[in-house]
């Protein structure tokens, strides 16, 4: 998935053409929906859509450039005054698509893969570091639970948050508990011989054929898109001064289609 994320990010940040950006956004959305399920995707997608919409509106409201004026506000209004144009809106929307596609392309690391999958994929030379990271990751959920528990318990003892300094009554015990938890974990790892020399592995992380297919598709997509850009087939797009439709060429479009490979891979895994 790292190769796929990298390919998506390069394509979406390399081109100014919103048609290709939209293709990457669609690939990211459908891949995540196939891997994580639509239900888990709902909240992050809403959040990302809000961020993207905010970016689009910000440009629409603040960039008073372009020939196609939709409406005008009196110029005495600071920042907002002046012509509000179709070009500024289109440019803002393209920016919103870029943000959405970029975030969703990086999302597999939190939505589909567990942190342990990522750690297991570390090279063998880093296995001791990986084991230590894996162990630390197990403490993360307990830190959140401790924070809730301590803040509730302190409230019940009569504590109330009054300014940032008062939070020390919650943060200090949470930090102390986390440090103690880390020490107990370190003690447990020591008691099981951690650090005694070279390690072996129960099950080294193996790439499955579907994983290799995603890597290959990502490489093809990336190579094809870079070649298209160099050859001038992936034409850039500019919203200003007069809005035009983005030009679309079959080759970079085909490159973007390869980014849908994870959809097929997740189906094969099931």
């Amino acid at each position: 998935m790292a190769a796929w994320s990298a390919a998506c990010l390069v394509v979406v940040l390399m081109t100014t053409n919103p048609a290709y950006k939209a293709m990457v956004l669609a690939a990211a959305l459908s891949s995540l929906a196939a891997g994580a399920g639509l239900r888990r995707l709902k909240t992050p997608v809403i959040a990302i859509a809000l961020v993207a919409a905010f970016a689009a509106m910000l440009n629409f409201a603040s960039a008073h450039l372009g020939d196609t004026i939709i409406f005008s506000l009196p110029s005495v209004i600071p920042g907002l005054g002046g012509p509000w144009t179709l070009e500024a809106l289109a440019y803002g929307l393209a920016g919103g698509i870029t943000i959405g596609a970029a975030i969703l392309a990086a999302a597999p690391f939190s939505l589909i893969l567990s942190a342990h999958d990522v750690v297991d994929a570390l090279p063998r030379a880093l296995s001791r570091t990986g084991a230590a990271i894996a162990a630390s990751l197990n403490l993360v959920p307990s830190i959140g639970a401790t924070f809730v528990q301590v803040s509730e318990a302190q409230r019940m003892r009569g504590w109330r948050p009054r300014g940032p300094r008062s939070w020390a009554e919650v943060v200090v015990p949470v930090v102390l508990t986390s440090v103690e938890g880390s020490l107990q974990l370190a003690e447990s790892m020591e008691a099981r011989g951690f650090g005694s020399g070279p390690r072996t592995f129960l099950a080294p992380s193996h790439m499955r054929p579907a994983d290799w297919a995603v890597v290959a598709s990502s490489a093809v997509a990336l190579g094809l898109f870079i070649a298209s850009t160099v050859a001038g087939w992936a034409a850039p797009w500019a919203a200003y001064p007069t809005l035009t439709l983005p030009a679309v060429d079959p080759t970079p479009l085909l490159a973007c289609l390869f980014l849908f490979a994870p959809v097929v891979a997740w189906r094969l895994r099931r």
């Binding site: 197990n138 528990q149 509730e152 019940m156 003892r157 008691a191 951690f194 005694s196 072996t200």
Partner: protein, 445 residues
């Protein structure tokens, strides 16, 4: 020759003037050696000598002699002793390294560089020996506390150690989980391994034990398990008048979290001077019910009424909230914030009731786990609450600490507080409860 022995061993933790072990002598052969003694007496320290965590991990000053499988503990690092001594810790949450059961059991084998081809069979055998073979393939986060402890035992057994040491492995578990772990321990001993285990509840293992070591104030005495007498059952409360005015009431309450309904159509009233015990299986809704009563969780339907007055809530793992410089400061914190200081209440009264006066000036996180539990109870229950809600308050406590807590509950009751205790502890229930309700599948009966 003994499998493990300790002779004239004296040990003090760094910056501690008093030794945690003072001239300790102990010899371990096969079978089950049961280690008993009060909280803070030195049990955990003694057990950590066998795999060298004391002194190699904890530092400090040590003298005397300790030997395991022919190796001098003081001269042998823990990571080498780990191949001969398996260790299971108290808290099932804080000894997990990997996310899945097999990876977790294999961790020690990977560290010992056991050839990869041999690991799956060793993992399988260890899970079977610990009675946990049915957990293979599960994610660690989906396991209950008892299941996690059996995986921890399997992780220790996978190394094929000559000695298995368990430090209060059931103290954080409910009775069902504890029974499963103790069954596994008996099975391991029956298979011919030497086991050293510290426990507060001695009765379940006493029949199978071959030796009993009592650790008190750092001194170790040994005796025959057959000479052991169970402690007297706690005194039942004196007959009590009917509950007074209503302090809290739930009417047709439904509540839950994360989109899941945990309680449905619950009716409950608690009156002044009444102790209500909640029992029932884990996940049945006891904690949710206490949180609704405390006002920490808003019901999705129904109503909650509470008489004005302080509500004290002792959560599970309350020791997490300790952070003041001394135990006395912890209690003062509550009294200051809850108005107890204005009413002339002092921390020492509560500390004395819970048997903590001798550690009142100490940093609470330096105390033993049982003492910390009591310190947290003192900190939460101070300030004359009108309603006290306690969630598994005796978890990790020894019998005398439990009796102290029972006396504090009794004192709160006589001063007019309404008390609701969620507990698996039958002795505590017998000692304090006026009424017992079962919370199961979200219903209260």
């Amino acid at each position: 020759m003994a499998l493990a022995s300790i002779a004239h061993l004296t040990y003090a933790y760094p910056d501690s003037p008093a030794p945690a072990l003072a001239g300790a002598n102990l010899s371990i052969d096969g079978g089950i050696t049961l280690v008993a003694g009060p909280s803070g007496g030195g049990k955990s320290t003694l057990l950590r000598v066998f795999n060298g965590l004391v002194p190699h991990f904890h530092g400090g000053r040590i003298s005397g002699c300790a030997e395991v499988s022919g190796m001098q503990v003081i001269a042998t690092p823990t990571r080498r002793l780990a191949r001969h001594v398996g260790f299971v810790f108290q808290d099932p949450e804080l000894q997990t390294v990997y996310a899945t059961v097999e990876r977790e059991v294999a961790f020690g084998l990977e560290n010992a560089a056991v050839p990869a081809a041999q690991i799956p069979a060793r993992v399988h055998d260890a899970l079977a020996e610990a009675g946990a073979q049915h957990l293979a393939g599960r994610a660690m986060r989906t396991l209950s506390g008892g299941e996690r402890q059996r995986v921890a035992l399997a992780s220790a057994l996978a190394m094929q150690p000559e000695l298995v040491v368990l430090d209060e492995p059931t103290s954080q578990l409910d009775p069902d989980g504890a029974d499963l772990v103790l069954d596994a321990v008996r099975r391991v001993a029956a298979a011919g391994r030497a086991v050293v285990i510290s426990e507060h509840r001695l009765q379940p293992l006493m029949e199978a034990a071959t030796s009993l070591a009592t650790v008190e104030a750092g001194r170790v005495t040994t005796s025959s398990p057959s000479a052991w007498q169970p402690p007297p059952a706690p005194a039942r409360p004196q007959p009590h008048a009917a509950a007074g005015d209503e302090v809290a009431a739930l009417t047709r309450v439904a509540a839950g979290f994360d989109g899941r309904t945990v309680l449905e159509n619950v009716e409950l009233t608690v009156g002044r001077g009444e102790v209500v015990a909640l029992m029932g299986p884990n996940g049945g809704g006891k904690t949710t019910l206490l949180r609704v009563l405390a006002g920490l969780l808003r019901p999705s339907s129904g109503s909650v009424t509470r008489r004005p007055g302080r509500v004290a809530y002792l959560p599970q793992n309350p020791a997490a909230l300790l952070h003041r410089p001394s135990v006395r400061d912890e209690v003062s914190f509550t009294l200051d914030h809850a108005g107890g200081t204005r009413r002339g209440e002092t921390p020492d009264r509560m500390l004395e009731a819970l048997g903590l006066l001798h550690v009142a000036g100490r940093y609470p996180r330096d105390l033993s786990s049982g003492e910390r539990q009591r310190a947290a109870a003192a900190a939460v229950l101070a300030g004359s609450p009108a309603l006290a809600l306690l969630d598994e308050p005796t978890r990790g406590m020894d019998a005398s600490a439990r009796d102290s807590l029972a006396r504090v509950i009794e004192d709160l009751r006589w001063r007019g507080a309404a008390i609701v205790v969620a507990t698996h502890d039958a002795d505590l229930r017998a000692a304090v409860a006026d009424r017992t309700l079962t919370v199961r599948d979200g219903a209260v009966r």
